[in-house]
Symmetry: C2
Subunit: 253 residues, 2 copies
């Protein structure tokens, strides 16, 4: 029952799009929990959940258990969600980055691990207490990397943060893979970034890349993962293939 954290402090690289669609692809044949740890609550609305009774913030501060707060997403598949709400921004400030507060999510998920085949955590674009909670709670990380220059520039800092967490709070943490997203075969830039990343990180880079595909950007406005909105699209095919590669890498772990 691996916990997979989807994280990168660079903004807009496809963390939420990856967390939502990977979780939905895995949920076609297994039971999956998607944890939305971003106060923007994009993953929550991305699977069509509006005004949930309980939020992940209530779970982090111990007001309710993860089991009772989890909500089943609509549509096919066995996808459950720990929804976020704007009050989570308060946690980002309240949770101390020095203490056992960073292990809150890990503790909460301990109780539900046996219920799910996979847990996927969507982290916000920062290195604050929420992202550190996601790293500490994860067994393995997926690092989406937009195939553009600023995102490439930030990858070294992200990997440095992971090394620091491995050296102290979560020694078992490993990188499942770096995922190239919004790859656009028509531009030179995209090819250059992919070449650079594969040269630098070798096997740590997923074979599968996610193409830029407008269907992926349209799906959230319908509150649905890509498989419900545009099942025949390139985006759907790519995320299904990613689910296969993720499963393989988890087994090899």
């Amino acid at each position: 029952m691996p916990v997979l954290g989807v994280t990168n402090q660079k903004g807009g690289v496809g963390k939420t799009t990856t967390a939502v669609n990977l979780a939905a692809a895995l949920a076609e044949r297994r039971r999956v929990l998607l944890v939305d740890l971003d106060p923007q609550a994009n993953a929550t609305s991305g699977v069509g959940i509006e005004d949930p009774d309980h939020h992940v913030y209530d779970v982090l501060v111990g007001r309710i258990s993860a089991r009772r707060a989890a909500v089943k997403a609509e549509g096919d598949g066995d996808l459950w969600v720990l929804p976020a709400a704007p009050d989570l921004a308060g946690a980002a400030v309240e949770l101390d980055t020095e203490s056992e507060d960073l292990g809150r999510l890990a503790k909460v998920l301990l109780a539900v691990r046996p219920t799910y085949d996979f847990v996927v955590v969507d982290a916000p674009p920062s290195i604050g207490a929420l992202t550190l909670n996601a790293l500490v709670a994860s067994d393995a990380l997926i690092v989406p990397l937009q195939a553009e220059y600023y995102a490439l520039e930030g990858i070294a800092a992200m990997m440095e943060t992971v090394r620091r967490v491995q050296g102290s709070l979560q020694p078992e943490l490993r990188i499942l893979g770096i995922l190239l997203t919004m790859v656009d075969a028509r531009t030179r830039l995209s090819g250059q970034v992919e070449e650079n990343v594969r040269q630098h990180f070798g096997d740590e880079v997923f074979d599968i890349t996610i193409p830029r595909n407008v269907r992926l950007a349209e799906a959230p406005s319908y509150g649905a993962p890509i498989f419900a909105y545009a099942p025949e699209s390139q985006g759907a095919a790519a995320y299904r293939a990613l689910a296969e590669e993720v499963t393989r890498r988890v087994r090899q772990g």
Copy 2:
């Protein structure tokens, strides 16, 4: 001389691209200071500055004045930069979000305001102490909004944060405008978002929109604003036109 904060907690919406290219466009005829308040330091490398002697963190904690830390960017125009470095991530944790720490940038910029015609501040994708410092130090805000659904969803939360800052720390703060970025005339989604935003925010939305243009994404890998890298591109024309509209809106303020 106005301090313009470029801010939106949603990641990847074009904050840095706007801060760098707007500052460079304004610097063609005036003296401009670009402040990089993001530990990712994208604005710093976006204008070609590597390994600066001093960083904005040194300035925030009072080790050096802004005047002495400012570095002239290469190329034409009178563009100066307060560079960022990864140590700024420490400030995000150290600066308290409750106290006079939120006014540090404002205090620092007070001393240099007479030297510059414009100050442009690039903020990180979060609502922590660094972004709040940017809001408190600003006279007016430019809110880049990527023409896609998740970014649209987050705009209400951004405006709420601005109202809170107006109600307490910085009553003079105003919204100079919401700037639609990465507008892609070929997709329905982009048109729908633009229509929705103009309907909702009316005059608060800049007339000028920034098209999706790969030259804007390529320029940072050459460490240059768009005017040095691809002066004839659509991206260059759009940011020049934005500089005109910003100047007009500042005068009308």
